[in-house]
Assembly symmetry: C2
Homo-oligomer: 341 residues x 2
């Protein structure tokens, strides 16, 4: 066991703008011997998320930055291949903070790893990083707790074909809302409407979002779930209804800025409309994850809920795969497969 | 009675930037004869408010724009000098939408006027346009309903010496909060601390607001009541606490922009801190005004609440007086006295 080599991506430098190859250090080290209370996890899939860009900055946020020289933080799914802990047995499939590497080793109750067993019969492993993983939890609690949509209201979501957007829209449909997505390109828009069942999707790469909103949200917007920020947030602010709720989940358009973030110039629409803009961080809802997994899992079992992932192969492709997110090249939740199941 | 001449300011043009003399038309017309159900009000005091600048723009807002050629909208206090309505008697002192003129005539139950009798024994007439008027109502309900401060929390308010700010801070003190103001110049800051009883006041004209926040809000900011927008809002966003509430009441720094409004570049602090930014429009609380008047009036009677007005004399000085607001020249709630009591 001690001769296993663990390939890893470490953060070599803090990026300016889009991460470059030189911001990463790709190397390997032998897997050390297992201690009492520890588990060894062979990583199968990594979750690649826009939020990872933020973790690379040396600035105060909801989670501490990745240290220079440290293995890049990432959630993922793996198989326990050795265990000296009563919590997990060899062969268990677990989800947790594995990092961008082939093997994770440490205490089974490690706070940063915070592993839990997953039920591979309920959904595919990539789906456990999507609708049943962090993006799904983010969507579920952000929409229900912060967005508070009511049946008949119009719910708008940007990044509609992405990991969080998929679940936001599908949950909102379950609640009886009119659901409109914003996505880039005709294929994604088609998928969002035809596969996920949204009422409409606005293609921000073809035509004006403003016109799209007029056409597809004729009653205005009651809940806007924002994953992108920037110009789209600004346009949406001109179309919100009285007492609208804007869920600030992310701002992917701004994460690689080398100039200051563009604040929403139309924020005074919040005043005019007595509306609210509120942030959500999924970790706050950790005690309630099982509730969301149960509900989404049930919809999935009924065939009323889809989870789409874009699986890229090979740990060595991590740097390029991550960039796909910021170019909108992924179609569905982006997952990196590190080893075969 | 029909020979009374009514001097008026009408909106002649929609201003670009600060209102100029040529944006106004000063004229007079005879007061017409009173009809059944109508009252004639002799205007005593006009309330001059930053919001008036917004009403001059031809854009969608929480209230329709003032039409070109129409008498400029303004709230005020006057004496009923003739009545053909059972609702009001000659001699009654009333508050309502009188407009920038010497006399108001119309139906006693006119929706735009929406007059109500005031009790001149409870407070001075200018105070009825301040702590007991729209600014006071805005402050009271904005703070309590949207800001939801709890005892021991830090409440920060900009425009602290202004009409709304005065009441926000004093109400927050009554609730047992740490209260910090932001105001322009040493005199206003001294007034806010020594007269109104705030714990501290940051002089944004002398020194950095950021340093002031570090010094005076060492535990961060739980509630920020924003009257100014712009750079100050942006700095405050870097100092908010988890679950902070930002009440968007106004953005006086932006009302005369000829360039686009500056959006809050640090709005992603809402995400990091799971915080909320929400707008308030006072009219929504009209049914509850009596509750606030009763409470603030009681504090006033106990000597525990002050109301400071800056009274400028003479209708003819309206255009210049209004500009004082945007230059921060008024010290306390700005009121224009149109006729002696």
């Amino acid at each position: 066991m001690s001769t296993l080599m663990n390939h890893q991506y470490r953060l070599a430098a803090r990026p300016l703008g889009l991460p470059k190859d030189s911001d990463w250090q790709y190397g390997s080290e032998p897997v050390r011997e297992l201690q009492d209370g520890e588990i060894l996890v062979k990583v199968l899939y990594l979750s690649l998320d826009p939020a990872m860009r933020g973790w690379m900055n040396d600035s105060k946020s909801y989670i501490r930055p990745v240290d220079l020289g440290a293995v890049m933080r990432a959630g993922g799914i793996g198989r326990v291949i050795a265990s000296k802990s009563p919590k997990f047995a060899e062969g268990d499939i677990v989800s947790g903070g594995v990092g961008v590497q082939e093997y994770w080793i440490g205490a089974a109750d490690d706070k940063h790893g915070s592993f839990f067993k997953i039920d591979a019969r309920l959904a595919t492993l990539p789906a456990w990083l999507n609708a049943l993983g962090m993006p799904g939890m983010t969507a579920y609690f952000g929409l229900l707790d912060v967005g508070q949509p009511k049946a008949g209201e119009t719910v708008l979501v940007s990044g509609a074909a992405g990991a969080v957007g998929q679940t936001v829209g599908q949950v909102a449909k379950q609640l009886g809302c009119r659901v409109v997505g914003i996505a880039g390109g005709p294929d994604k828009c088609k998928f969002v409407v035809e596969e996920l069942g949204f009422d409409a999707c606005i293609d921000y790469k073809n035509g004006s979002v403003k016109d799209g909103l007029k056409q597809h949200c004729p009653q205005g917007v009651d809940v806007y779930f924002d994953n992108v920020g920037g110009d789209i947030l600004d346009v949406v602010l001109t179309r919100i209804n009285m007492k609208a709720r804007i869920v600030i989940c992310g701002a992917i358009s701004q994460y690689n800025n080398t100039t200051p973030v563009k604040g929403p110039a139309n924020y005074l629409s919040l005043l005019v409309n007595r509306a609210r803009m509120e942030g959500i961080v999924v970790f706050d809802y950790a005690p309630r994850y099982p509730e969301a997994v149960r509900q989404i899992g049930q919809w999935m079992a009924q065939g009323a809920f889809k989870s789409r992932e874009d699986v890229v192969q090979g740990l060595e492709n991590f740097p390029q795969a991550l960039l796909m997110l910021f170019e909108g090249k992924n179609f569905g939740k982006l997952v990196l497969q590190v080893a075969p199941e």
